[in-house]
C-alpha cells in the first residue's frame, strides 16, 4: 500500500470518528466543511483540471439549494430520492445554459462574465417570486429517505446526516477521480495545458468545456443541496460573489488540480474563519491581509510550499 493511499484512509477514518465524540458543535462544523469540500472539488474540475477560472460557481450551489426549498412541500417531507436528483439536475442544466454564453470568452473576460452571470442568478432569486426576496426561504422539513415505508436513514438525525454528507463526499471524490482518468478527463487536462493544440488535433474543445462546465455545476449542486438540508434555509447570499470568491480561495489554498487539496482547502478556510473569527469581529481583515501577503511573497501559492520544502530538503538535486 503506498503512503498516499494510507494517508487518505487515515483521513477518512478520522472523519468517520467525528460523530462518535458526541460533540454536536464540532460535528455540525465539520459537516458544513465537508459540504464546502464537495463544492470546492466541483470547482476544481474547472479551475484546476480544465483551466477555466470561474468566478461565479456559487450560482450553481445556490440554484440547487433554492431548488430543494421550492420543490419541497411546505409542511411535509419531500422524498430525498426525488429532490436530490432534481436539484442537481436543475443546477447542471442552468450551468449548461450559462456555459453556452460564458464559454465563448477566454481569460479575463471569462472571469468577469462568469461573475456577471452569477450576479444575474443572484438577482433572479433576490427580485422575483422564485426566491422569496432577500430573507430567503425556510426548508421546514428535511427530505425523507424512506422508500415505500422503509427508512434506511433519517436526515433529521445529526449523525445520520453527517454520514450521508461524508458518503456523498467520498462518492464525488471517487467519481471525479475516475472521470479524470477517462479519455474525457484527459481531454480536459489537455485543454488546460494547450487548448489550441487540442483543437488542431481535432477536438471540438467547446463541447468538452461545456460538458465540464455543466458537470461542475451539477456537482456544485450536490453541495448546494446538502447545504440547504443542513441549515434548513436558503438566502440569495448563497449565490453572492463572496461565496464564489471563497470557494475559489479554497481551491487555490489546496493547490489547484488536486482533489484532496480542494478538500484540505475547505478545511483550512473554515479553520481560518473559526480561529480568526474568535479573535475579532473584523477577522476578514486578517484573512484579506494573509491573502495579499501570500500572493506577494509566495508566488505559485500556498500549494507550492510542500514542493519548496521538499526541494530544499533534497538539496535541489533531482532533475530527471
Amino acid at each position: 500500500m503506498n503512503a498516499q493511499l494510507l494517508l487518505k484512509l487515515v483521513g477518512l477514518a478520522i472523519l468517520l470518528c467525528v460523530p462518535l465524540t458526541g460533540e454536536s458543535f464540532y460535528t455540525e462544523l465539520i459537516a458544513k466543511t465537508l459540504v464546502l469540500a464537495i463544492f470546492a472539488m466541483s470547482l476544481d474540475l474547472l479551475v484546476g483540471f480544465t483551466g477555466l477560472v470561474s468566478f461565479g460557481h456559487a450560482a450553481y450551489f445556490g440554484v440547487a439549494a433554492y431548488a430543494v426549498a421550492q420543490l419541497s412541500p411546505k409542511y411535509e417531507a419531500a422524498s430525498l430520492w426525488f429532490v436530490m436528483p432534481a436539484a442537481v439536475g436543475i443546477s447542471a442544466l442552468v450551468a449548461l445554459f450559462v456555459g453556452l454564453f460564458v464559454l465563448r470568452t477566454k481569460g479575463i473576460y471569462f472571469i468577469m462574465v462568469t461573475l456577471a452571470f452569477a450576479q444575474l442568478a443572484f438577482f433572479v432569486f433576490h427580485d422575483t417570486p422564485l426566491g422569496g426576496g432577500s430573507d430567503g426561504i425556510y426548508l421546514n422539513v428535511k427530505p425523507t429517505a424512506s422508500i415505500a415505508g422503509w427508512m434506511p436513514f433519517d436526515l433529521d438525525n445529526q449523525t445520520h446526516l453527517y454520514y450521508f454528507i461524508l458518503a456523498m463526499l467520498v462518492l464525488v471524490y471517487l467519481f471525479l477521480g475516475r472521470i479524470l482518468q477517462s479519455p474525457f478527463g484527459r481531454v480536459l487536462v489537455g485543454i488546460k495545458s494547450n487548448e489550441h493544440r487540442m483543437q488542431s488535433m481535432g477536438y471540438l474543445t467547446f463541447r468538452y468545456k461545456l460538458a465540464a462546465f455543466a458537470l461542475a455545476g451539477g456537482l456544485g449542486g450536490i453541495a448546494g443541496f446538502l447545504y440547504a438540508v443542513v441549515f434548513g434555509f436558503v438566502t440569495p447570499e448563497l449565490l453572492s460573489w463572496h461565496q464564489s470568491g471563497n470557494v475559489l480561495l479554497m481551491v487555490i489554498l489546496g493547490g489547484m488540480g488536486n482533489l484532496v487539496g480542494a478538500i484540505a482547502g475547505a478545511f483550512v478556510f473554515t479553520g481560518m474563519q473559526e480561529v480568526f473569527g474568535t479573535w475579532s469581529k473584523h477577522w476578514q481583515l486578517i484573512m484579506g491581509g494573509v491573502i495579499v501577503a501570500a500572493v506577494l511573497f509566495l508566488p505559485g501559492g500556498l500549494a507550492a510550499i510542500p514542493g519548496r520544502i521538499k526541494r530544499s530538503l533534497q538539496g535541489g538535486g533531482s532533475n530527471e
Partner: protein, 257 residues
C-alpha cells in the same frame, strides 16, 4: 478514391488574407497531391505561415476558397479540418510540455475515436490508442524516449514529437511548418527519411529553409514573395527561373545552400 495516385487532396484557390490594410497573402493557389511533397519557399515575411494557417483553419481567409477532396472546407475550423484528415505541425513547438511523449501522442490518437461519453473507462487502458501512439512515436524516430516528459526533450526531439502527433491523427494531408528547424544534420537526415516514407500515401506541404532537404524531397516548389506566388513548378524549373534567382535565390542571406 485512394486508388487514384495523382488525386489532388487539398486545393487552395486564390486565397487572400488581409490584416487591416496589410495584405499578407494575395490570390495564393496551392495544390497538394497524394504522393507528392509540395514545398513552400520564401524569405521571412513572405506569407508562408499565413498561408499554412489558412490551409489548417487557424486563420480564416478574407477571400478565396479551399477544397478538400473536392468539397469546400473554407468555413471549417481547425478542429473540423483535423477531423476530415488535415493535420499540421507548428513552427514554434506546440506540444503538451508536462505530459510524457506517449501521452502527447496518445491524445492525438484518441482524437480519431473520442468516445467522450465513456467517462468511466480508463484512458490508459485503451490499447488501440496506446499501440497506435507507440507505432507513431517509433515512426518519427523517438522510440527511445516514449516515457520522457516532453518538456525536457531537446528542440529537435520536440519537432519529431510533433510529427508523431500529426501521424497519430491519420492525417492524409500533412502541413509541416519548418519541421527541420533547429535540428542537427543527423536528425535532419533522419527526418528526411521519415518524410520520404510518409510521402507515398499522403499529400505533404512543407515550409522549409534547409535547401538540401527541400531538393531531396520536393516534387513541386512554390516560391512566395510579399504575400504572392512568384513561381510554382518542379524543382528544376525553380532552379532555372530567372525571376526566382533575382527575387529570392540571389539574395545571399536567405538561401542556405
Amino acid at each position: 478514391m485512394s486508388d487514384n495516385h495523382n488525386e489532388a487532396l487539398l486545393v487552395a484557390k486564390k486565397i487572400t488574407r488581409r490584416f487591416g490594410g496589410l495584405v499578407a497573402n494575395q490570390d495564393v493557389c496551392v495544390d497538394l497531391i497524394r504522393g507528392k511533397v509540395h514545398v513552400l519557399l520564401g524569405p521571412n515575411g513572405a506569407g508562408k505561415s499565413t498561408c499554412i494557417n489558412m490551409l489548417s483553419g487557424d486563420l480564416p481567409p478574407s477571400d478565396g476558397q479551399i477544397l478538400f477532396m473536392g468539397k469546400d472546407i473554407t468555413g471549417l475550423t481547425a478542429a473540423q479540418r483535423s477531423l476530415v484528415g488535415i493535420g499540421r505541425s507548428y513552427q514554434r513547438t506546440n506540444i503538451f510540455p508536462k505530459f510524457t511523449v506517449l501521452e502527447n501522442v496518445r491524445l492525438a490518437a484518441q482524437s480519431r475515436n473520442q468516445q467522450p461519453w465513456r467517462i468511466f473507462s480508463k484512458a490508459q487502458e485503451q490499447k488501440w490508442a496506446l499501440d497506435k501512439a507507440r507505432a507513431c512515436i517509433e515512426e518519427a524516430g523517438l522510440g527511445k524516449k516514449v516515457d520522457w516528459v516532453s518538456g525536457v526533450l531537446s528542440h529537435g526531439e520536440q519537432r519529431q514529437l510533433e510529427i508523431a502527433m500529426v501521424l497519430a491523427t491519420d492525417a492524409q494531408v500533412m502541413l509541416l511548418d519548418e519541421p527541420l528547424a533547429g535540428m542537427g544534420s543527423d536528425e535532419s537526415a533522419k527526418m528526411v527519411e521519415v518524410l520520404k516514407r510518409l510521402k507515398p500515401t499522403r499529400a505533404i506541404l512543407l515550409v522549409e529553409h534547409d535547401m538540401d532537404a527541400v531538393f531531396a524531397v520536393a516534387d513541386t516548389i512554390t516560391v512566395m514573395v510579399n504575400g504572392q506566388v512568384l513561381e510554382s513548378g518542379p524543382p528544376a524549373q525553380i532552379k532555372a527561373s530567372v525571376a526566382v534567382q533575382q527575387a529570392y535565390l540571389g539574395s545571399e542571406d536567405s538561401f542556405h545552400v
